[in-house]
């Protein structure tokens, strides 16, 4: 499950480095979390779909770290298709924001599903995270 997700993530990340991705390759991804990174308006958009927990947070970490290593002016993490997030997933987002604050404030975060917003409210982190409307 995890390795499949990582492979998929790396496959999509190859877009950053300009490698051609063959359309229609492979079977649909059914992992717990899938991550894709695309370039948009000079920035990078990391889209996460699925569940963000202890087992999948490292996939998001890896994608955000890879994006940070580029010269992207803005890094947007789109979590609107994340159907479940717990404190372990939230921690990955907070750590990304702490890194961003030390490195040009490049991070942006979509507001997420009602479940994600409930967690942000419970954890009282609304002021901490760099939310943007999609």
């Amino acid at each position: 499950m995890l390795s499949g997700g990582r492979d998929a993530s790396l496959g999509r990340l190859s877009d950053i480095f300009g490698k051609k991705r063959t359309e229609g390759q492979g079977s649909p991804i059914t992992d717990l979390l899938t991550i894709s990174t695309v370039e948009r308006d000079g920035g990078l958009v990391i889209t996460a779909e699925g569940e963000l927990d202890l087992s999948t947070a490292p996939l998001l970490d890896a994608a955000v770290l890879a994006a940070e290593a580029t010269g992207a002016a803005i890094i947007t993490v789109d979590i609107d298709a994340v159907t479940f997030i717990d404190s372990t997933g939230l921690r990955a987002l907070i750590e990304a924001q702490l890194r961003s604050q030390q490195d040009g404030n490049r991070l942006r975060l979509t507001r997420g599903s009602p479940q994600a917003q409930r967690l942000f409210s419970l954890a009282a982190v609304h002021e901490l995270l760099p939310f943007v409307d999609n």
Binding site: L32, E51, T88, R118, L119
Partner: protein
């Protein structure tokens, strides 16, 4: 309305997802969606806690009656309760449980944590978590 079940979870990274899936499958017809979402969150936090801090097999017990949902996550670990005594409730997961549940606690000398979400009355308040109650097992 009355539902009780127990499941054994593997000590690996799939445990919290398996636990959430079981809770969703078994309680989707019983609980209102916002309550089910909170139960899934509390279960995910406690199973993650057991993975990070406990040892041995992880058990999840759920009891629903017309008053409340009570959940317990049990493993063979020790010391979670001691860490809470020493450091206060610092683990973010436990803080989240304290905010979705009206009551929660840790049995002494164990990694046996329980929570209770009431089905009647006010929704869980957002604010400071109540202190974890330490109970005799």
């Amino acid at each position: 309305m009355f539902v009780t079940f127990s499941i054994d979870l593997p000590r690996d990274a799939t445990a919290s997802q398996l636990a959430r899936q079981q809770v969703a499958d078994r309680l989707v017809a019983t609980l209102e969606p916002p309550v089910l979402a909170d139960v899934m969150l509390a279960v995910s936090e406690l199973v993650t806690n057991a993975l990070l801090h406990g040892t041995g097999q992880i058990e999840l017990h759920i009891e629903v009656d017309d008053r409340s949902v009570r959940g317990e996550v049990i493993d063979a670990g020790r010391g979670l309760e001691q860490r809470i005594r020493d450091q206060g409730v610092e683990a973010p997961g436990l803080q989240i449980v304290g905010r979705v549940a009206q009551k929660w606690g840790v049995f002494q000398g164990t990694t046996h944590v329980w929570f209770e979400i009431l089905l009647t009355g006010e929704n869980p308040l957002v604010g400071e978590p109540p202190p974890g109650r330490l109970s005799e097992s």
